[in-house]
Amino acid sequence: MSENTDANGENNAVPAPRDTGGEVIRVRKGMFGANNGGDTSGYGGLIRTVTLPGAASRPYGGWFDEVADELEGALEEQDLLPENAIEKTVVDRGELTFHIAREHLVQVARTLRDDPALRFELCTGVSGVHFLGDKGRELHAVYHLRSLTHGRIIRLEVSAPDSDPHIPSLVAVYPTNDWHEREAYDFFGLVFDGHPALTRIMMPDDWQGFPQRKDYPLGGIAVEYKGAQIPAPDQRRSYS
């Protein structure tokens, strides 16, 4: 069965995903996620790529254009080409996301906070996401910035490869990110350069590994009943 799968993968028989240009985060094979020959559904050779929503084109709609214009203008004033800093802009499900190149993150965040027309005063912390299939951009750090002045919320997304998990720290701009960045470090191994004290926060100090990465097992144990044993949730057959 595995030979068929490989052959199918090479001859590009895969139908094109609905929205092209998005990040491919995963290639799904077979029907039920069974990868040891247990897929008897007849769809064992099925291959589908999973992509996140791709870059949007102007106009974005609503106040999104205004924020994007202001941000680009403010960055140009600081002699930073917007296309260097902003990798792409995604509008999906009524939310605006700027993908920022990591070396420019601090400058962009400071601009977003200080520019009177933007004024995103409140950062609601950082959430790490680990996309194992997104080669070269495995680790994502997602920031949500809220503007109390204008009543808006946007998202910044920064990525780093697994081999070099460094992202500049935003603590100097948003002190509230202190614990949030420690948490993202603790769970994902994202190293926030410039953080005043990047140590583990949730797990014990001597813990090995970063438990919420996708390649870290759930760590559950099999549960015994009378005459039966139920494997841990991550060891069971799954549907995705």
């Binding site: 949730m202 797990m203 014990p204 438990p211 870290y216 097992p217 759930l218 760590g219 559950g220 144990i221 549960v223 015994e224 009943y225 009378k226 005459g227 039966a228 044993q229 841990a232 949730p233």
Partner: protein, 184 residues
């Protein structure tokens, strides 16, 4: 602990056992070991409607050195486990442990890297109390069952005999995985 442990087996010892058990069960001092959701229900048990004071144990001790019952109320994380053991070690004998809620008893629904799969890995447990979280009535039931157990506690040579019997029974007992039949 004292003289009562040195008494020879017989009529005097059983009388002392009954007296000591009665005294001990009538005034159990629980140590607060509230961890998560169950801790809120434990506090509710101590508050007005359920009124744990009726059983002579409304005073939750802040210090383990003044307590003889530890109610482990909630999920025990790997980081908390050494702390829990230290608190248990600080309690003077005789001491008892109620494992309140499924998380403390078996890890419950949190079968993962962070949670100790049952507090009996760390301390000996006298009463397992299921529920997520158990109702205050269930906690009181567990406490009353513990009172019965305390009442029946053996002393001196009788205690040694009881411990030996318990060990033999445990050695003979069938492991769970080898048991057959209905889930009873």
């Amino acid at each position: 602990m004292g003289l009562e442990e040195k008494l020879p087996s017989g009529f005097v010892l059983t009388t002392v056992e009954q007296a000591a058990g009665w005294v001990r069960k009538s005034s159990v001092f629980p140590a607060t070991f509230g961890l998560a959701c169950c801790a809120i229900e434990m506090m509710t048990t101590g508050a007005g409607r359920y009124d744990l004071a009726r059983f002579g144990m409304e005073v939750f001790r802040g210090s383990p050195r003044q307590a003889d019952l530890m109610i482990v109320a909630g999920r025990v994380s790997q980081k908390m486990a050494p702390v829990l053991r230290q608190v248990y070690d600080q309690m003077p004998n005789p001491k008892w442990v109620i494992s309140m809620g499924v998380c403390a008893s078996s890890g419950g629904m949190f079968n993962n890297y962070a949670i100790v799969q049952g507090v009996d890995h760390i301390v000996p447990v006298d009463i397992y109390l299921p529920g997520c979280p158990p109702r205050p009535e269930m906690l009181m039931d567990a406490i009353l069952k513990l009172h019965q157990k305390i009442q029946g506690t053996k002393l001196g040579v009788n205690a040694e005999e009881a411990a030996r019997e318990a060990e033999e029974a445990a050695l003979k007992a069938l492991p769970l995985i080898e048991m057959k039949g209905l889930l009873r």
